[in-house]
Symmetry: C2
DNA sequence: CGGCAACCTTGATGCAGATCAATGCCACCG
DNA sequence: CGGTGGCATTGATCTGCATCAAGGTTGCCG
């Protein structure tokens, strides 16, 4: 049986008063637009859930019934063509908000990469919450605007950058927002596989692997293990990423 | 002198009561979230402006002082790499809203393709308007969400589709939202040049030209002139666009 | 510990689309 | 009306990345 056919599991379907108050992700997420005094209202509609690696918890084309807020782990969002070609549109980490859509169906699928914990909110209930907390609506608009800017950067990457520049951009992005190792700055974990990176950057697995090897032999990075990267020359790599070389 | 160095011209810097009430673009735009009775308030802060073909009226990296609403013509939004490589992130037509950004600077440049008319709104003033009309804020969120979905489609196109599929997708998109000829359904104008299409689809001018010629000789389309397209086989072209062939 | 499976790396070869190079087609203007 | 400049088309060649094809590495499980 494929992991992607397993179903996510609700841990706490009823919610409890302090689920949200004690949430690690709240400071990073749209939820902090709800004031402490009213946090129980948010907790009442939050369904805390987790998903094993490989589980698909949003399916492109399905009715868009819920919003999601990631509180642990990493998620890949992607779109497929009928013959199986895949484009990963982004990776979502702690605090990331998923499911913004005007249309009645999800525009992309989402899968857990590692063990993921998230809160599910019914769209209908969130709508009434938004009417009471305009600050949350403003916050959502800010999130959407930020993602739009990131999407435009990604279009530039996919349309016009070389494989080397794509990897440099990706590594700089991960070093900024990824999971940092405590041991050293400029060193971080890559929770996703080479295949995921390839489908995010519009390349093949082989080109990703070769290009990383080349960046290492050119002295830009170190590769302590296949899931870890250390950046040796941040300024030079940033230059590569922005097309200065 | 290059066209891009000319400056847009304000036609009506003070605004007048019926500027917005009679605006052709209003039904298509976020402005209609302001009720008729209050439309003069919108008109008071609208600066109606127009731009000649080739004029750059938003410059990537400049302080983001205004929002824009297109009321006539077509605009290209784009990002550049230092060596001149260009990625067009989208074309904006009548009713389109530009300038959403959290950051203090614009994330892209915008140029008039043909003669463009637009309304400029100071961000600070729009902010106070948004506080009074939450419906407008909701409308902006809807716009941002829609653009995000479009951006994800474009990532799939740029990362994973062939040149033929890219052109098919582009033509289907234009036939849906472009300027239709009155003469015939399935026939429409292309206000942008081959170079613009290439930079939007992540291709070169030559590949765009060759691929269009091929689509014509394969019976999918007709090319009455270089700025006009007629679709002969919409279903087949749609199949191509979605990767079914 | 050994055998398997999933993933990653490396090498050889192929091809879609880029690049280089004319040529054609208008629209504009003196 | 002939010249000029900007865009589009078409052809010849080149190349960056994909594809095809082995190995190598890691970690799991019996």
């Amino acid at each position: 049986m494929y992991a992607s056919s397993t179903r996510p599991v609700a841990i706490d379907p009823l919610g409890s008063a302090n689920v949200c108050a004690n949430c690690d992700a709240r400071p990073h997420s749209v939820c902090n637009a709800v004031p402490d005094s009213e946090i129980s209202r948010l907790a009442a509609i939050a369904m805390v859930t987790h998903a094993e690696p490989g589980t698909t918890f949003i399916q492109e084309g399905d009715p868009a019934t819920h919003f999601f807020n990631i509180s642990a782990g990493t998620v890949r969002m992607y779109k497929l063509l009928p013959d199986g070609r895949r484009q990963i549109t982004g990776f979502a980490g702690v605090g990331h908000f998923l499911g913004l859509a005007v249309s009645e169906t999800y525009a992309f699928s989402a899968e857990a990469i590692d063990c993921v914990r998230f809160c599910k909110f019914s769209r209908a209930r969130v709508r009434t919450l938004l009417d009471d907390y305009p600050a949350m609506e403003k916050r959502l608009l800010a999130v959407a605007s930020t993602e739009l800017v990131a999407a435009q950067d990604q279009m530039l990457l996919l349309g016009r950058k070389t494989a080397r520049e794509r990897l440099a951009s990706f590594l700089m992005l991960q070093s900024r927002q990824g999971v940092l190792c405590q041991s050293s700055r400029n060193r971080f974990a890559l929770p996703m596989s080479r295949g995921d990176i390839a489908d995010y950057l519009g390349l093949t697995i082989e080109t990703v692997s070769r290009t990383l090897t080349k960046l290492r032999s050119d002295g830009f990075i170190e590769i302590p293990s296949s899931t870890e990267i250390a950046i040796r020359a941040p300024a030079a790599l940033e230059g590569l990423a922005t097309g200065m070389a």
